[in-house]
Each structure stands twice: as structure tokens, then as C-alpha cells.
Symmetry: C2
Subunit: 354 residues, 2 copies
């Protein structure tokens, strides 16, 4: 039995894998594979419609927002956000909390000016800056809700005088959010949504159409909204599996239930990190992520042996990113708490032996 | 038993569906689903490497070319080609042979000038223009090798004094091509490559890096080449299934073998269209596509009844595009000739009854 703590693409529910596998052989009793069905077939249009409608239901998306399934991942959104929202000569405000935030603002610079309103670069991004101000004349404010590499998370979003664009790739659907607080939310699917290859965008319609540059059709949110995420052939299988996963989340009781489970998983692991003298967390306590738990060992020489012990117990994907070192346990929605207990047991066993 | 003549996403080999379905449950005996594996895992890097290397082998790609698996489909390539190859103020030459060619040139206009060197718009795109000339000062010449909607195909590519960029979405891997004749080839995966969600690009390295505009990282071929198609998380599953399909093609004997099969399938169907007085082809005979066979009925009132008869025999996806009407039978690589025979039988049976 494998316990998949991988940072993404990541674990999805076992029943989703079973249904997805079946859909590859025979989709909805059509006698055809989901891989060979036309995206214009009523059966697939129903998949897209239900996926979009479940996103709206689970996140309580207010009217006036469009939900899109696109391609290209969050990395393409880094450019699309600025291309669609940042007029040449205007300035966008960015919060720099890690590598993904840095990449996002680098792409925005191609289209306009970028004002980094706050950064935690001074401490290798081990905290979330607070008490910064967002200039009223910014085109938008951009932030990254969860920093997978550094293990920090925005537990509160700042009040903003301008639309907030947020990269929620690694914690969307893991906790309740108030969509009305955002102008645009985007997320690569490959954490809590579905498999790699789809990108979710939730955008407030009224913020669009204000820049004067010509935008290629595929990169224009308005084209994608008009095309109902089918301006061209969508990533059919990724959307199908996202639907299966969103159905699973709904059947569990939705965001309220999964948020409690996620908090319990994170609490259990952080408690052990704080209790066990061999381990320590890498971020300020108040900014700890419930999705991406980063920790190192007091004695770095122990890390190789601990990794081996954890792997022997079936824990995979716990090696930390090279920017931080040590370990990273990603506790995405589909990871059962029993897997967290296995990792904790490994930590305790290692302590006993050393 | 279904006979899938759909225009795309389309039929893939049954054994590919079986292997893909198994990979969703347990990929390469890792104990993990292909959907939950990291794209940085050695097991997936091996998938990407083998897929790229099979593209090179099957198409005989010369040195000096890079092979990429991207996202966004051919529609995003319409913009990327011009963004990467067309300097502002320069002119690109386009051959207008159908709806996809029109869309491609519309996107190019955002980045520079477009010179439509020839068009078959005058006859609802039912032929391929010939005897046009490509100005020597064009940035590149763009053409669409197969026109799915109108049923025409470039059986020969023009000699060009400038790099040729070709949309081969619907006939790549169906026939032999000389890659050295092209500067850039692109294709949405969802015909003869694999499932929707991946896009294949084959580009001659030396034509890149010549425009002065700043290009977003994800849309810059050079970034994608440097990142070896993993600048960000690739569409893991679509690449995996593309690999399975390319392996299938190789095991059959490669392009030479499939090209003969494709010619035999097309010949059988066109022979019946020409023989059967109830049906007629919609394109000039010399430009008929071997992939997309378009035909109508002499008496349009018969079309509904014929569609019903064909569907009763298991033929799906044969309804023609609204721009042409009638029928379209897509004869992609994985469609067995036995399916073509079933369609022919339906045509003969319909003739007998009427």
C-alpha cells in the first residue's frame, strides 16, 4: 500500500481512479471510450456542464462569475491574467510569497508595470507578509494562496481596493473561500481538482474587456466564456476525471467536511513535528499551510535514513523541494488520515531508534 | 459493436484503450495511478522521452529539429506560430483552404501582416489551390495539410522559398512526409496521436529566436524546448496515451504500413461513392482526403433515412459538418477496414431499398 504525499500531480480518491479507468473502456455505456468521444457529443457536453455546475455549487460561486476549464496550467494563467487585465502603462500589485508568485509577476512584466507590494524573499519565503497596502490605482492585486515549495498559506486574504487575482492551484476545494472577494481565481487541476491537463478559472465577468490590446482568441477569457470552455477541443479526459472528483467531494459533504478533515490531518502532523525533537518546521507557525507541510531534521545527516524508513512504510513523494530541503508532505483532499498516521509512526519510530 | 467515424476526438486502437485503462489503476507496476504520479518521477520522464523519441523515429525527424508535447491544441498554435515567427510589420503567407486555415490566419493578423496567397473560398473550399507563388520576403508560409470539414488534402506541398509552417492536426502519422521540407509542424493530438489535451510541435531550431517581441514563457517555443516539454506540468495522461498509440503504430510497421491501409480504406469508400448513384463526393477528385471523406446524397431528402440505417449498423460520427452538410466519414489510423465495409454495406443496402 502506497501513501502518496506527492506535491502534484497528486493523489485522487481510489473510487475516482476506478471510475476513470472504466470510462476509458466504456464511457457511460455508450460503447465508446471517453478518449474517442466527440467533445460535441451530448454525453460530453453533459460532463462539462455538470463539472462547471459542481464548481459553482461547491464553492458557492455568486452570479456574475464565469467558470472555465482551460488548458496550459497556472503557468499560462500567469500570462493570461496580465494579458487580459493589465493595460500597457498600468501597474498591477503583486504579493511575492514564493517561486510561483515570482513566476507570475515575471510574466506580468511583459504586459505592464508590476509593483511588488510585499515580499518574504528576505527569509526564504518562510512567512506571509502582512500590513502592506495595495495602491488604489493598481489594475489588480495578485497573490498565491498556498506556497507548495515553502509550506506557507494565506489564512486570510487582504482587503483590496482593486480586483484580487489569486493562484489557488494548490488549495482550491480544500477550504471555504468567499468567491465574491476575488476578481479572478485560477488553479491548475492537478491537486484537488483532477488530473494534469486542465486549468480551472473563475472570473468576475465585469472585470473583463477593459484592456485595449488585441488578445489571441485562445488566450482571451471572453472568447472562452462565449465558447463555454469549448472554443476548441477541451482536454476531455481531464475534465471528465475532474467531474468524478468533484462528485466525490460533494458526496463527502463538500468543502465544510473536507476542510475539517484537512485541518485534522495537518494538526496531527504539525503536532508531531513540534513534539519530536528530531524534526522542526520550516515556516512561521501562524502561516503554516494545511496542504503543504514542510519540515527538516535538526541533524541533516539523519535525513537520508529517515527518508528510507518512511519509504519502507510506503510513503512516497515526501522529499522536499531543493529550495528548502528536508521533507514536504502534501496533504491533499484525497489523502486519508491513515496515511498521515503512517508518516507520524515513521517519525516516532525513527526517534526511538536514534 | 460501434464503428467510430468521428472527426475527432476519434477512435484509437482498442489495445491502447485497454493499456490506458490499466495505467489509470496501476501505472507500470508502481502501485500508483498514472493520474497521481509526479511528472518529475523517473517513470514519467521515461514516458515523455520515449514518446518524443518515437515521434522522431516514425517520422524520420532530421537533426536540428525539436519535438514538443504542449497544451492548447492547434488553436493555440495559430497564435503561437505568429507570435514566435512573425515580426511586427513583416508579412506571412497563408494558404486558405478551409475553416482552420481561416482561423489560423486571423490569429496571425494580431502579430503582423497576412498575405493570403491563394484561397478556395470561391467554391466553398472544395479544392486545393495550385500554381500560386509564395513571396520570398514572407516570414513563413502557412498551410493546413488536411481539411476535416471540407474533405480535401494537400497531396503535395508547394516548394517554398521560406519556412513552411503546417497544421497537420488531422493527418499527421497517416502518411509519409519529409519533415525537412517544413520549418514547423503542429498537430492537436486528438486524431492519430492520442487523446485531446496534448499538442505535438516539431520545429526547426534555427527558425526560432528571430522576432524581437517579448513572448510569455509558456508561449515561447524556446522555453518549451529548454524545459524539454516540462517547463510546467505537462498533460501527463494525454502524453502517456500518445506513447501507447505511437508504440502501436510502430508495432504495426510504422507509417509505410499505415499509409497503405489508409489508402485502401479511402479507395474502398470513394469507389462506392462514385459507383452508387444515390451518393456523390463533395470535392474535386484529385484533392480528395484519405482521412476525411465528405459526401452528400443526390436527393437530400434521403439523408435522414440513410443516417438512421448507418447508425443502426453501429456507424457513429458520420454526420457532416453544417458547412457542407451530408456525411463525413473520418478514416483515422485506428479505424479498421471492416468498419469501412460496414458503411459501404449500408450504402449498398440503402440503394437496393430506394
Amino acid at each position: 500500500m502506497k501513501h502518496n504525499f506527492g506535491a502534484g500531480p497528486c493523489i485522487l480518491p481510489q473510487e475516482v481512479f476506478k471510475q476513470a479507468s472504466q470510462g476509458v473502456l466504456n464511457f457511460n455505456d455508450t460503447g465508446l471510450s471517453i478518449l474517442e468521444i466527440s467533445h460535441r457529443a451530448p454525453e460530453f457536453i453533459a460532463v462539462m456542464d455538470e463539472a462547471i455546475s459542481l464548481v459553482k455549487e461547491l464553492l458557492n460561486v455568486p452570479t456574475g462569475y464565469s467558470v472555465l476549464f482551460l488548458q496550459g496550467g497556472a503557468s499560462l494563467q500567469f500570462a493570461m491574467v496580465a494579458m487580459n487585465l493589465l493595460e500597457e502603462g498600468q501597474t498591477a500589485a503583486y504579493l511575492e510569497t514564493g517561486m510561483w508568485a515570482k513566476k507570475a509577476l515575471a510574466e506580468a512584466k511583459i504586459f505592464g508595470n508590476v509593483n511588488v507590494v510585499a515580499s518574504s524573499k528576505d527569509a526564504n519565503f518562510n512567512y506571509i507578509p502582512k500590513n502592506y497596502s495595495i495602491p488604489k490605482d493598481s489594475a489588480y492585486f495578485h497573490c498565491t494562496s498556498n506556497n507548495t515549495i515553502f509550506g506557507t498559506q494565506l489564512h486570510n486574504f487582504p482587503a483590496s481596493p482593486v480586483p484580487v487575482a489569486c493562484d489557488m492551484s494548490s488549495d482550491i476545494f480544500s477550504r471555504s473561500i468567499n468567491v465574491a472577494d476575488f476578481g479572478l481565481i485560477y488553479a491548475g487541476a492537478q491537486k484537488n481538482i483532477g488530473p494534469a491537463g486542465a486549468t480551472l478559472v473563475i472570473v468576475k465577468d465585469e472585470i473583463l474587456g477593459k484592456v485595449t490590446r488585441q488578445i489571441p482568441s485562445m488566450l482571451n477569457y471572453k472568447t472562452q466564456i462565449e465558447g463555454e470552455s469549448m472554443y476548441n477541443t477541451p482536454p476531455v479526459f481531464s475534465v471528465f476525471v475532474s467531474l468524478l472528483n468533484l462528485r466525490w467531494l460533494k458526496s463527502k459533504g463538500g468543502i465544510a467536511v473536507i476542510e475539517q478533515e484537512n485541518e485534522a490531518k495537518a494538526k496531527a502532523l504539525y503536532t508531531e513535528i513540534d513534539r519530536n525533537p528530531l524534526f522542526k518546521g520550516t515556516t512561521t507557525v501562524e502561516d503554516r499551510s494545511n496542504m503543504s507541510v514542510c519540515f527538516v531534521m535538526e541533524n541533516p545527516d539523519h535525513e537520508k535514513a529517515f527518508l528510507k524508513l518512511a519509504e519502507d512504510k510506503g510513503c512516497v513523494g515526501i522529499k522536499g523541494h531543493r529550495s528548502v530541503g528536508g521533507f514536504r508532505a502534501s496533504l491533499y483532499n484525497a489523502l486519508p488520515i491513515t496515511s498521515v498516521h503512517v508518516l507520524i509512526e515513521a517519525m516516532q519510530e525513527f526517534q526511538e531508534k536514534n
